[in-house]
């Protein structure tokens, strides 16, 4: 007679719970509870490390060329629910999956890329009475008010900067001298709305997420020193959002 068995009791964390923890889908209370369990359970900790260290070698996902209308609505839903994006808003046809690269985090030496970093930033635009997800816009306009949300599975010290079409760098967040510590969570809004001026051209927003405290002045220096994407200090990661600001039609 064969009896099926489990390696973990029902009171432990399932693979689903561990996967959600890794990608940042557990909210505050669930996240804290999972972390607390991991601290006291070697079986679950071992499974967590096994899952987090899984070397996927995903095949390239070649998607069919599609018109934008058919998937646009679905993508808005997916973005709103998943919140795992660093979105490049150039609306210029299709890109193969493996061209969209995340910048490396120098945590362990040259070329080190953090796996399962679990940090993401999204933006939204308030235009009049409408609130529009950033990735559905074809262009920004003067007077648009930018808002941001972030998702992270570990605490991070965060600062956000903008560079407008004239190359001017502006501190978006925080107002004080030090990068703000943000607790783990999913799709958490932060900062105040940033109203865009009438300088037209390419806009870039750089969200810098650091594992350790950092001065805004040091992070801004990294943005100032770069012609485009800043080189993050060690232990930090940059998420870049881009769009073009055009005159109101």
């Amino acid at each position: 007679m064969t009896t099926l068995s489990r390696s973990r009791p029902e009171t432990c964390l399932s693979d689903l719970a561990l996967d959600k923890l890794i990608v940042g889908e557990l909210d505050g209370a669930a996240h804290a509870s999972a972390r607390e369990h991991l601290e006291g359970c070697t079986v679950c900790r071992s499974r967590y490390e096994e899952i987090d260290g899984f070397d996927a070698e995903l095949p390239s996902l070649v998607l069919p060329q599609t018109g934008r209308g058919s998937w646009r609505a679905g993508i808005v839903t997916l973005v709103a629910a998943a919140a795992v994006l660093a979105v490049v808003l150039w609306p210029k046809g299709d890109l193969p999956v493996d061209r969209v690269e995340e910048p490396p985090v120098d945590d362990g030496g040259p070329g080190t890329r953090t796996k399962g970093d679990g940090v993401a930033m999204e933006w939204f635009v308030r235009r009049g009475a409408a609130v529009i997800p950033g990735d559905t816009l074809t262009a920004l306009q003067p007077g648009d008010v930018l808002g941001f949300t972030y998702s992270a599975i570990e605490p991070r010290f965060v600062a956000v900067f903008g560079r407008d079409g004239a190359g001017t760098v502006t501190d978006y967040f925080p107002d004080g001298p030090a990068a703000t510590r943000m607790e783990p969570g999913r799709e958490l809004p932060f900062g105040r709305g940033i109203e865009l001026d009438d300088t037209l051209g390419d806009e870039a927003v750089y969200g810098i997420f650091c594992r350790r405290p950092a001065l805004v002045s040091e992070l801004r220096a990294a943005v100032d020193a770069a012609r485009d994407e800043p080189e993050p200090p060690q232990g930090c990661r940059v998420i870049t959002l881009r769009a073009t600001k055009r005159a109101v039609p």
Binding site: T3, L4, L16, A56, L63, G74
Partner: protein
């Protein structure tokens, strides 16, 4: 292309591949399932409504596609021919994994899903009831039938 799905593929794709490999014990089949799951999202994004988390949705989608794969006649024949020669390295629990695959070929859909979620993903019955959208009592009934089927080796021959 959908940058949203590209990003979801990068962050969630590894878990889809890992689970598909474990259920199917075949890397090529598992990669095919990964492609199917995400291409299906491109084709019909409305199937993910956002009521559950994306990971929960992908767990369901992956499980369903793996079960369809197992039940496909050609796959079933190949698995039977290759019994004992799967190409995915199996560590501890290899015997149970073989029994699970045998059961997945023959069990009705809901019992097969319960088997995967309880014995492969090691979810609690409460989690399974959330994923399947049914009562905990129903999950308990499904698992009773799974255990009964497991205890009848002649049914798996």
């Amino acid at each position: 292309m959908s940058e949203a799905i590209a990003a979801a593929y990068r962050t969630h794709g590894p878990s889809v591949l890992r689970r598909a490999r474990r259920i199917l014990a075949n890397d090529a089949d598992a990669r095919e399932v990964v492609q199917d799951v995400f291409l299906s999202l491109v084709d019909r994004p409305e199937q993910f409504s956002g009521r559950s988390s994306l990971m929960t949705f992908l767990y369901r989608a992956t499980t369903n596609r793996c079960l369809n794969h197992i039940r496909n006649a050609k796959t079933r024949l190949r698995l039977l021919e290759q019994r004992g020669a799967v190409d995915v390295e199996e560590g501890p629990g290899a015997e149970q994994q073989a029994i699970v695959r045998d059961l997945l070929r023959q069990l009705p859909e809901e019992q097969a899903q319960a088997l995967v979620y309880y014995y492969v993903d090691e979810m609690s019955q409460a989690e399974i009831s959330d994923v399947l959208g049914c009562s905990r009592r129903h999950v308990g009934n499904l698992l009773e039938r799974v255990r009964a089927a497991a205890e009848q080796p002649e049914a798996r021959a």
